[in-house]
Each structure stands twice: as structure tokens, then as C-alpha cells.
Amino acid sequence: MHSRLDDLRITTDDLDTLTGLDISDTFMGRAVRPSVFRAPKRLMSFVLSEIITLGLIVIFCLPASLVIAKSIPGFNDSTPNTIQFLQISIGISLSIFALWNGFIWLRSNALKTLAHLLDDVDKHNEIIDALQVLDELTAVQNTSTLGVNSTSPLENRADVLQALSATRESLVCGLMTERVLRKHQRSLARRHDLFTNIETNLATLQSLQLNHAANDYGHLLNDALQIGMSVRHEIEQLK
């Protein structure tokens, strides 16, 4: 009974494979999941991650700056020098930390669709958890009323399982589509640019052809226009 439910669950490993990113409760790849700010437990985990990140940056920057500073002539271990050194190196660490967070937020904005899908996956898994609890409760009730004719509180369990199976399928399909679109976003954008370029070139060719229709270059421009129109036709078929 439970193995069927486990099969319906979308695990972290499944998510990693489907999205091609490292998915956790707080992060999706190098982006923050917006759901972090709706659940206190996840928020705590995110804050802890931020503290760890800052710690790692300080651990790297402070001694690295020290190695560099020591090679500067006139730099010694006097108190003003040390204070200035600490101010500069901690400033550098905080700047790197701010840049890193900026990068994370930019990534998060780019992955809004994925974030929504992941929230849906969470809801799907929560339903499975609830169903599992109900199953266990039913099992306990059946044991306590052994011999008494009892019916399951969830009589339409089969329908629920069927619905969950359909939800899972939709989610998997959604995640796969999102991945494909994300992966080919750049090439799609490039194709759009290409098409715009072709349109511009075609318009130029048309105007040139009109201006020079009567002279010797007219037929050459006409040929070029034909090629341009042919390319546009091919690209339109691709769209």
C-alpha cells in the first residue's frame, strides 16, 4: 500500500534529474526559492546558509588580503595599520557577499516558473504524506476493532490515488517542459533576433529594389529579394 504511495512521491533525486539543478527546500540551483519567506523553518535554514556563506567569504578574504597586504612596503603590525587592514578586508568581504546575493536574486527572478512548479510539487508530496497518515490511522482502527465490520474512512482512496497519479504526471511533464524551455531560451532568443534581422534586411532589399528597378542593378536586387523572401519563409516555418 505504502510502496504505491512512495512511487507517487516526487523525490529530491527526481527533481534533480528533471530540472537539471540541485533542488533543496531553500535553493534551486544557485537561486533562492520564494517559498523560503513563507515557512519559518525554511527561512531559518536560508539565514543559516547566508551566515555560512558570509563566514566562508570572510575566511577566504581576510587571510588572502593579509598575504597581499604583507607584501606592501611600509605595512606593519601597528594598531592603525591593523585597523585599516581589517576595515578594508571586511569591506571587501561584505561587497563580495552583497554581489553574491544580488546574483542569487537575479537567478531567482529568472526561475519564477520553476519555483511555482516546485511549490506545486511540495503540495503534491504533502497530500501523499496526509494520505499515508490516514492509511496508518485506518490500520490502527482496524486492529482495535478486529472482528467488527468496519469500513475505511477514505472510501474513495482509489480515486485519490488516480488523481495523484495524474497530478504527478502533469508535474513531471511541466518540469521537463520548463527545463527544455530554460535550456533553449538563449537559442530561442537568438532565433527571434535572427528573424528580426531577416525582416530588416528584407525591407532594405525591397526599398533598394524599388529605387533601382529601372537600372542595370535591378535584376540583381530582385534576386537578392527573392533569396531574402525564401529565407523568411523557411524561418517562418520553423517558428
Binding site: 534533480d16 540541485d22 540551483g29 535554514s45 577566504f60 587571510p63 598575504v67 604583507k70 606593519n76 603590525d77
Partner: protein
């Protein structure tokens, strides 16, 4: 947080972990987890050795010790990566980074396991020279074990890579590779023998070249390990003090004077009463 779970997987099942690195599985998660857990272990050990002097020194050493290993890794990683890909390595930069992080993690765990012993000597013996040499010995031992495991790991990855290399061989080479694996019938064998005879000269040359390449990579790896040790020890000397000398106030850094090896030798002699 399951950063420590990743570290435990590395310690418990190293071959599988290395194989996952080779196959580029969850590299980012591995690198973050190893980085976090190893830095924490180094920081704890750093705080212990620094506490022999003052609490300020403890904080300073807790930051400096993880940085020592991390900066050494950053300095030495490009050399290893570019030399290895020059000699036909198929691994990416991030894979090399995680491989080096496994070394760093192993050393950090070993140091952390020495922490109770260090703490015991810190409390029971108030001898700066002895404490210094004890820690030099601990760092040398853990460093040796860590790099030894890294060396074995790199060889394991190279051995794993053999089937990948085989898939890129010519049909003649593949036939020769497949021979020991199955028992072919007479007809197949004769066909293969004809092909193999035709290509035998080419095969021999290619295999010899591959052997040479592998041997060169092993030699380079040994050279790189020496380089890693030299950079690490010099950086340690540059970042000192980690312990904080007795009867001296807290210092964030000291002026560069002498070198690591001569100081260790002088301390050793003075401990034996020669100075």
C-alpha cells in the same frame, strides 16, 4: 543541513564518491558540503591551537587555518587542472575542485580527530616548543595521509577512465580490447586476426602512446603534490602566528622573516637541548 552527510559518504564509501565525481554527479552540492564541513573542522582545530595563547588568537587561528588550506587549494588548482588536461584528462575544472576538496576534507577530519589529543597536551604540558612540534607532526601526518588518499583517488579515476578511452579507440583497437572478454567462435577469431594483423603496428604505437601519457600524468601528479606541500607550508609561514608565542601580546600577523623549515629545525634542536 546535510553537509555532514556528504562528508560521511566520502569517508565511508570513497570509491563510490570518487566515481560520482568522475561521472559529474551532484558536483555543486558535493563541493558546497565539503567546503562547509571541512572549514568548520579546520576552524575548531584552529581555535584549539590558538587558545594556547589567548582568546583573540583562538579567533584569529579559527579563521586562518581553514583559509590556509583553502588558499593553497586555489593557488594550486589551476596548475593541476591545466597540466592534466594537457595530457588528455577528461575531467572538468569543477571536478578537479571537488577532488581537491576531498583531500581538504580528509585532512580536516583527521585534524579534528586529533583535537582531543591536542587539547590534552595543551592542558597538561605548558611547553610552547613541544606544543609547536607536536602540531607540526600532526599537520605533517594528516597532510601526508590526505595527499596519499588524493593520489590513490586520482589513479582510481584514471583507471575508471579506461573504458571511456576504449570507446574512443578505432575499431581495430576495440577488437583487441574485447578479445579477453568473450570467447569468440573460430570464424570470428580468424576475421579479427586478419584485421588485428593489419592494424597491429598502429595498435602497438597507440597503446604505447597511451601508456606514456598515463606515466607522464602520474609523474606530473607527484610533482604537483610536492608543489602543493611547498605552497601550503610557505603560506602557513606567511599567515602565522597560529599558536601565539608565550609572553607576547596578540598579533594578527608577523613580519616575514626566515622560513618554515629552518624555524622547525631550530625548535627541534632547542627541544633536544642543543641551543
Amino acid at each position: 543541513m546535510n553537509h555532514f552527510a556528504v562528508m560521511l559518504t566520502l569517508l565511508r564509501d570513497r570509491p563510490t564518491f570518487l566515481d560520482e565525481i568522475r561521472r559529474n554527479i551532484k558536483i555543486e552540492r558535493k563541493s558546497v558540503s565539503l567546503l562547509v564541513s571541512s572549514c568548520l573542522f579546520f576552524a575548531i582545530y584552529g581555535a584549539i591551537i590558538g587558545s594556547s595563547s589567548s582568546w583573540l588568537q583562538a579567533i584569529s587561528s579559527a579563521i586562518k587555518l581553514p583559509a590556509l588550506y583553502l588558499i593553497t587549494l586555489v593557488i594550486c588548482l589551476p596548475t593541476l587542472f591545466f597540466f592534466d588536461i594537457l595530457f588528455s584528462s577528461k575531467l572538468g575544472f569543477s571536478q578537479y575542485f571537488v577532488l581537491l576538496l576531498t583531500t581538504m576534507s580528509t585532512i580536516s577530519v583527521l585534524l579534528f580527530s586529533f583535537a582531543p589529543i591536542t587539547l590534552f597536551f595543551l592542558i597538561s604540558i605548558h611547553d610552547y616548543g613541544f606544543f609547536l612540534l607536536l602540531n607540526v607532526a600532526i599537520f605533517a601526518l594528516t597532510g601526508f595521509v590526505g595527499t596519499r588518499l588524493f593520489y590513490n583517488g586520482m589513479q582510481q579515476i584514471s583507471n575508471y577512465s579506461q573504458p571511456l578511452i576504449a570507446s574512443e579507440l578505432s575499431p581495430y583497437e576495440q577488437i583487441q580490447d574485447e578479445e579477453p572478454r568473450r570467447l569468440p567462435d573460430r570464424e570470428q577469431t580468424s576475421k579479427r586476426l586478419v584485421m588485428a594483423t593489419d592494424a597491429s603496428t598502429v595498435d602497438q604505437t597507440t597503446l604505447a602512446k597511451k601508456d606514456d601519457l598515463y606515466a607522464t600524468r602520474v609523474r606530473l601528479l607527484k610533482f604537483w603534490l610536492v608543489l602543493y606541500a611547498l605552497v601550503g607550508s610557505q603560506l602557513g609561514w606567511t599567515l602565522r602566528p597560529f599558536f601565539g608565542a608565550p609572553e607576547e601580546t596578540f598579533q594578527l600577523f608577523r613580519a616575514i622573516e626566515g622560513n618554515f623549515y629552518s624555524t622547525v629545525w631550530r625548535t627541534f634542536l632547542s627541544l633536544l637541548g642543543f641551543n
